[in-house]
């Protein structure tokens, strides 16, 4: 039994940690968030040059052959700075779907650019009526000769604005909530009939609503088998949850440690806030929730990597606790910072907003508790 990171992964962790420390002062993050792309092109290039984009790709595809544990290391460190560059959208989501379903030709055409950062991906899986159900798909894809013709809407698509290609789920057969009959399509954002409505999200990132009007995709653009897209989506969603949970853990660590530091400095009633027992106990609770989340993260990640029975259930447990504990930690971090926690000046509030959004991504706390219990 050993939960230590290997030497290689420890080096990786250190180098990402340095990158985040050097480039993710709150001021820089705000500046990049408000720039035209919504992130820093320079940072993105550095991330590519450092080889982190290649991590989860198999060696035969030009990657490093890493797995979800490597992604966990990356995302946890990214969470400490609320990194804006679309690692999650492009490498975990978009490329995650391609790694599982792309034909050899598609890999040939896409992977090099994705790994060197010149191409970016996004995954358009959500629809307004679906809430958190990946299999609730109304957007349709009808075959017409060599092409499929897509119509419908996708919502809250992260990184659609700067992606070169977007993987879209659409229904090729079956009813609205059938798991069979969903297909994934790799679509060039410049395709005719492909329209984006871009907007910022509350956590400083960007998303888009997508309207598909008779978008034509050649059948070579199908990712995986026609009608069998759900399995790929589900596997990508599990990866996504592991990655988001790791990011959340990094964020939670900053929240509870910043809070400890602040209460040790702030004096009211002639003593440090940290001397009040009621506040000490609150911080103990924050810390324990953080540790519990970390344990479930390890559990779920290892079970998924080793493809163990019960892995799916652990993923549900993880996402449930991340939402619940994240809310507890974030709300109390703000509370214990008092008025200062309510300002945009401190990073506390920014972490708070990011954790709030993480709870909504790929199913919120309630949704996964229900799945866990089912």
């Amino acid at each position: 039994m050993n939960f230590d990171l290997s030497e290689e992964r420890t080096l990786l962790k250190d180098s990402i940690s340095r990158f985040v420390r050097d480039n993710y002062e709150l001021e820089s993050r705000i500046k990049h968030s408000q720039s035209s792309k919504g992130f820093s092109a320079e940072n993105w290039n550095s991330i590519a040059e450092l080889g982190w984009l290649a991590l989860p790709f198999p060696e035969e595809d030009g990657g490093i052959g890493g797995n979800q544990i490597d992604t966990m290391v990356v995302m946890e460190e990214f969470g400490k700075g609320m990194v804006l560059e679309p690692y999650f959208a492009s490498i975990v989501l978009g490329a995650g779907a391609l790694r599982r379903g792309a034909s050899d030709d598609m890999k040939e055409a896409m992977f090099e650019g994705v790994i060197d950062g010149s191409k970016q991906l996004a995954l358009a899986y959500a629809e307004s009526q679906a809430r958190f159900d990946l299999h609730d798909v109304v957007s349709s894809a009808k075959q017409d000769g060599e092409d499929f013709v897509l119509n419908g809407n996708k919502c809250v698509v992260q990184n659609a604005e700067t992606a070169s290609h977007i993987i879209v789920s659409a229904r090729t057969s079956g009813g609205q909530i059938d798991t069979d009959g969903i297909s994934l399509f790799l679509i060039d954002v410049n395709s005719e009939g492909f329209e984006l409505l871009n907007y910022p999200t509350v956590d400083g990132l960007r998303a888009s609503e997508i309207t598909l009007t008779n978008v034509r995709v050649n059948k070579t653009g199908v990712v995986g088998e026609v009608g069998a897209g759900f399995e790929i989506l589900q596997a990508v969603a599990n990866d996504a949850i592991l990655a988001l949970a790791a990011e959340a853990i990094g964020t939670m660590e900053m929240l509870y440690t910043d809070t400890i530091e602040y209460t040790q400095q702030r004096v009211q009633f002639d003593q440090k806030l940290s001397d009040f027992q009621v506040l000490q106990h609150r911080m103990v609770d924050m810390f324990m929730e953080y540790e519990q989340c970390k344990s479930l993260l390890y559990r779920a990640t290892l079970e998924v990597v080793e493809n163990r029975e019960g892995a799916q259930r652990s993923v549900h447990a993880l996402k449930h606790l991340i939402g619940k504990a994240g809310t507890f930690i974030a709300e109390n971090a703000v509370q214990l910072h008092g008025g200062m926690g309510m300002t945009e000046e401190l990073r506390i509030g920014h972490f708070f907003k990011r954790l709030t959004v993480i709870d909504m991504q790929f199913g919120n706390s309630d949704y996964h508790l229900e799945k866990f219990a089912a």
Partner: protein
């Protein structure tokens, strides 16, 4: 015990409903004109523009149950915008401690909503521990002016305000609650610098106010020098009772349910999903209880006792309920609640996120929840404190 409204109360309720519907804003109307007319019409009803003011100062002199009816009936209605600082916070202090000259000078403009007031209480080093405030007011040699120096923080609407009512320190001897003096002075003058503080979600409502050699005539002092703390304390209790927001929470709860029912899930709606439904139900239970805690407190008030410690229970529970309502609205919005700047998805998702972010301040300002619990521990349960933890009140 009985909970029936009397015949007079029922008549009053009908009158309030009639008034609110007769004077409702009509689309297309000039807003400011409507607003001023609304207050004028309310004043003509006999002090309905200042419901909480006592009769001798031009208020309606309502009974506690009439206040309760007014609060419930107006919740969720489109009333003209108003700020609590002049009407609800300064006016009661003036009524209790101001001299006739001050009453004549300030009360009419407060009532007419002509002057915007802000509250200069908290300081960087004086949040929950408000009595620790250090903004200095020194009397000039001729005894005609105070010279004020210091920094106030979390000052709501200071950037729009004409005047500020300010707690200042005139003496450092004795207990720190002594030596605090209540001063009024204009914001738009030399020596007063207002710097915005941007809060979560990008809103600008609070400010830091820097005071440098601000000259304040002694006739702008309320009551006696060194007694400001006592005056402000009564005010804080007022502020807290008002912060429970029960009427608004009842309206917000109904809205939450309506919104959740608009989210279709299979053959039902989000309100049929077990986890969400049970959280809403638990919230409703707490709110129903708090409604009656408020009524019990009103009944005490009717019998002539002070708002007292119930005001801490109301503030504490009331604000936590408001926060839970906001959080559940965000949850109901699903993924779309993340949208910012440009509303996407269901309309309530966007405003829900704004409310959620803003609501986190409710348990911080007006006496943080931790402070309220201390007040209850000390004043209600009679639990003793270490001397250093005594007399905490004010803003977090």
């Amino acid at each position: 015990m009985d909970i029936e409204l009397s015949k007079t109360d029922l008549e009053f309720q009908a009158e309030v409903r009639q008034f609110l519907s007769d004077n409702a804003y009509k689309p297309g109307e000039d807003y400011n004109k409507w607003r001023m007319n609304w207050f004028a019409t309310a004043a003509a009803k006999g002090g309905w523009d200042v419901p909480k003011w006592p009769k001798e100062f031009g208020g309606p002199g309502w009974t506690p149950s009439q206040h309760y009816i007014w609060e419930r009936e107006k919740a969720g209605k489109n009333l003209p915008w108003d700020l609590p600082f002049g009407i609800g916070m300064l006016a009661p202090v003036l009524m209790a401690h101001g001299n006739q000259k001050q009453l004549d000078r300030f009360m009419p403009d407060i009532r007419a909503r002509k002057v915007i007031w802000c509250q200069g209480y908290s300081e960087p080093g004086a949040g929950s521990d408000l009595a620790n405030l250090q903004t200095k007011a020194e009397l000039t040699e001729d005894g005609k002016h105070y010279i004020v120096n210091g920094t106030k923080i979390w000052t709501t609407v200071a950037h729009m305000a004409d005047w500020i009512f300010c707690l200042t320190r005139t003496s450092n001897t004795g207990k720190k609650q002594e030596g605090i003096t209540f001063l009024l002075f204009p914001v738009k003058q030399e020596g007063v610098e207002v710097q915005p503080i941007i809060t979560l979600g990008g809103a600008h409502t609070v400010n830091t106010v820097f005071l440098t050699d601000v000259k304040v005539p002694v006739e702008n002092r309320i009551g006696e020098e060194g007694k400001g703390w006592t005056y402000a304390k009564g005010l804080l209790q007022h502020e807290r009772t008002g912060l429970a927001g029960i009427s608004n929470s009842l309206v917000a709860l109904a809205k939450l349910k309506k919104n959740a029912r608009s989210i279709i899930r299979g053959n039902g709606t989000l309100m049929d999903e077990p986890a969400f439904r049970s959280k809403v139900a638990e919230l409703e239970v707490d709110l129903h209880a708090l409604e009656y805690t408020e009524l019990r407190s009103l009944a005490n008030a009717a019998a002539g006792s002070d708002p007292g410690p119930e005001s801490s229970i109301l503030k504490l529970k009331g604000t936590e309920i408001q926060q839970r309502l906001a959080k559940l609205t965000v949850e109901a919005g699903g993924l779309h609640a993340a949208g910012w700047g440009q509303p996407v998805g269901p309309a309530f998702a966007h405003s829900g996120m704004q409310s959620y972010l803003g609501s986190r301040a409710y348990t911080i300002y007006g006496g943080a929840s931790e402070v309220q619990r201390d007040v209850i521990a000390k004043n209600v349960l009679g639990l003793k404190k270490k001397s250093s933890e005594k007399t905490r009140t004010g803003k977090g």
